[in-house]
């Protein structure tokens, strides 16, 4: 870890890292704590895995804490997640009480760290009520929302709003997600880590190895969606799109690769629904991968002809940038953060239905030159906009900004 910044300088450029060093200078020595609800699985944990060590290397005293809870707690927070993304979900008073009690227990455990912190980042709704347990807090508290809350189920948002309104600031991935809150709302899209196992370059042998490992035919076309088994990721819609496209490309194979996250109790149910929709088609490969199968996912994304992310709601959808980083055009749902990454006709296609996805799959499979050209544009677009170094720069900017009371111009 000692030379992590030097490694990033090789990918992103010396001046990018130099920039980070200068921007972080006024934050040197500050205690910065990130809090979320899982150490493994999902985009938030992946980002924090690298963001925290990088901040430390820049001289910031950064740390990462994870709250704990039982199955009921995670079931409730999953309901929060679904409701905030627009599902009409009722959360009972009993579940809300349990959610609050779990946060009370975690607040007691984390008090020594949080009371003393200069800046606290609370990620997503799971630990949001922690703030209420620190009325005498010393530092600035920021709520970082990674979810698409553009059309939240109002009763649930009203409840959560009361927990997050007291923060000093919040961060959303897109302007469309920003809410009516009495504090400054920064806009920071997330990023991918080009040096991680999931995105680093791989040998051809490792890439072709995934075909053998999962019994996929390397001589036929492969479309891939990597995501949790979650209804908002629409795995059943992807199967529909595959079936429509297969009429015109009979050799087409579909790989649905997903994992389970500690804080997602619905995964098993959606996995069963997906298997039922696949109906034992031998060309549909449903892979339940462990949370640390990063190199496998990397190899699958590189091996695939087309990457799909047909979400119907999406906070950001890091798998889109991951696929683009591997030089693949991505066919994605026309929602949330996917819109920021897929530029129609340039880096991929935005679609709203399985039929739309099928049309674009057919188009790309029959225009290989276009597929390659869009893939190159996609990789370049990610290099300029969605690497971890840009993400870190914007976090540092927000921290400096907030510490300076969010004035329009801050001269350091």
């Amino acid at each position: 870890m000692a030379n992590l910044l030097d490694e990033y300088a090789k990918v992103a450029g010396e001046n990018v890292v130099d920039h980070l060093r200068q921007l972080s200078a006024p934050l040197a020595g500050m205690k910065v704590v990130h809090v979320n609800s899982t150490k493994l699985g999902g985009g938030v944990a992946e980002i924090l895995t690298k963001l925290v060590p990088l901040k430390r290397e820049l001289g910031i005293d950064a740390s990462w804490e994870v709250i704990t809870g039982d199955a009921d707690f995670y079931s409730t927070t999953k309901s929060f997640h679904n409701a905030l993304q627009g599902n009409h979900v009722h959360i009972s008073d009993e579940h809300l009480r349990h959610y609050e009690e779990t946060n009370t227990e975690n607040a007691a455990k984390l008090a020594p760290v949080l009371e003393d912190a200069d800046i606290v980042f609370i990620h997503d709704p799971q630990p949001a009520p922690l703030l209420s347990h620190f009325p005498e807090r010393k530092g600035l508290w920021i709520w970082r929302c990674h979810i698409d809350v553009s059309r939240p189920h109002r009763p649930v948002w009203r409840y959560l709003r009361s927990a997050v309104a007291g923060y000093d600031a919040s961060i959303f991935s897109l302007a469309a997600f920003a809410q009516n809150l009495p504090h400054v709302q920064y806009l920071i899209p997330p990023s991918i880590d080009p040096l991680s196992d999931k995105n680093m370059p791989l040998d051809e042998s490792e890439i072709s190895g995934v075909f053998r490992k999962f019994d996929v035919d390397p001589d036929r076309e492969v479309m891939l969606q990597v995501s949790r088994f979650d209804r908002f990721k629409d795995p059943v819609g992807v199967i529909e799109a595959y079936r429509l496209a297969k009429k015109f490309s009979p050799g087409l194979q579909l790989v649905l690769a997903g994992g389970a996250a500690d804080d997602d109790p619905e995964g098993a149910v959606v996995l069963d629904e997906t298997k039922a929709a696949a109906n034992e088609d031998p060309d549909i490969h449903i892979l339940l991968l462990p949370p640390d199968a990063h190199r496998t996912i990397n190899a699958l994304q590189r091996a695939a002809d087309i990457v799909v992310q047909k979400s119907t709601r999406e906070g950001f959808g890091l798998t889109v940038a991951e696929g683009m980083w591997k030089g693949k055009p991505v066919i994605g749902g026309d929602v949330g953060g996917i819109r920021l990454q897929i530029i129609n006709d340039h880096t991929g296609f935005l679609v709203s239905t399985p039929e739309g996805a099928a049309l674009r799959i057919r188009y790309l499979l029959h225009h290989r030159d276009k597929l390659r050209e869009m893939g190159e544009k996609a990789r370049s677009f990610v290099r300029e906009n969605f690497l971890l170094t840009r993400h870190l720069r914007e976090y540092l900017t927000a921290m400096v900004s907030l510490a300076n009371k969010a004035e329009d111009r801050i001269e350091l």
Binding site: L23, N180, E407, E411
Partner: protein, 230 residues
């Protein structure tokens, strides 16, 4: 953060050097949005001036892959979401440096939109998903600790600049300096040597609207090499 001080906003140092600075931009949601032209007009009347800066220039430092025909966020939205190409073209030719301050720019935007509203019997709406979101920008400026004293060093200095440093000295300068010009012109003019007059004129001829910051940097390097030698 007590060590942070407000410092002078020009790049010229006490001993006549050019201090190279860099910047980072924070994008901040205002929660204000528009779904049709009338709403856009109404919001523009009262929106924070920092929003105008963001939607005219901030895109250069944010993820963009937009239609290069339209060089500000308002024009792009009118074209892409309201499908009104004539109005998008009229909004696109508005040059913020023609106005002394944000109020003049705001008035011009509102006037152009009102003319269009006067012509319209029916108001086109875009979908909720395609609303215009007003974003304001906030700039954090910091020193790179590099100072040059000889204009002959400009080409090499610019070649080593980050895109955001180019943004600070060539774009942000236009709203910061008294004459609304880039920092290089300000410095060269301050040196008071007649021989830099044609170089300043040439710099003012660089059209930053249709170039990325990297392309602007290359253009500046070419100009400095041409006028000041490699």
């Amino acid at each position: 953060m007590s060590s942070i001080e407000k410092k002078a906003k020009t790049p010229v140092t006490d001993d006549g050097g050019f201090a190279i600075k860099d910047c980072a931009l924070a994008a901040i949601a205002t929660g204000r949005r528009a779904q049709n032209l009338k709403e856009l007009r109404d919001e523009l009347e009262t929106i924070d001036p920092a929003c105008l800066q963001y939607h005219f220039w901030g895109g250069l430092l944010r993820p963009v892959f937009d239609d290069p025909r339209f060089n500000n966020g308002f024009a792009r939205w009118v074209f892409q979401s309201l499908h009104n190409q004539p109005l998008a073209e009229r909004l696109s030719v508005i040059d913020p440096t023609d106005f002394d301050g944000p109020d003049g720019l705001r008035r011009e935007l509102v006037d152009v939109i009102e003319e269009e509203l006067d012509r319209r019997e029916v108001l086109p709406w875009t979908s909720r998903e395609q609303q215009f979101h007003f974003i304001r920008s906030q700039i954090v400026v910091f020193s790179t600790k590099r100072v040059i004293h000889d204009p002959g060093e400009l080409r090499d200095a610019v070649s080593a600049m980050t895109p955001s440093s180019v943004f600070y000295h060539f774009i942000d300068a236009r709203r910061r300096t008294p004459n609304g010009v880039d920092d290089f012109s300000t410095w060269l003019t301050d040196l008071g040597d007649e021989k830099y007059r044609s170089l300043c004129t040439r710099l003012r001829g660089v059209d930053p609207y249709f170039m990325t910051l990297v392309e602007i940097r290359e253009e500046l390097m070419d100009i400095f090499a041409e006028y000041l030698g490699d």
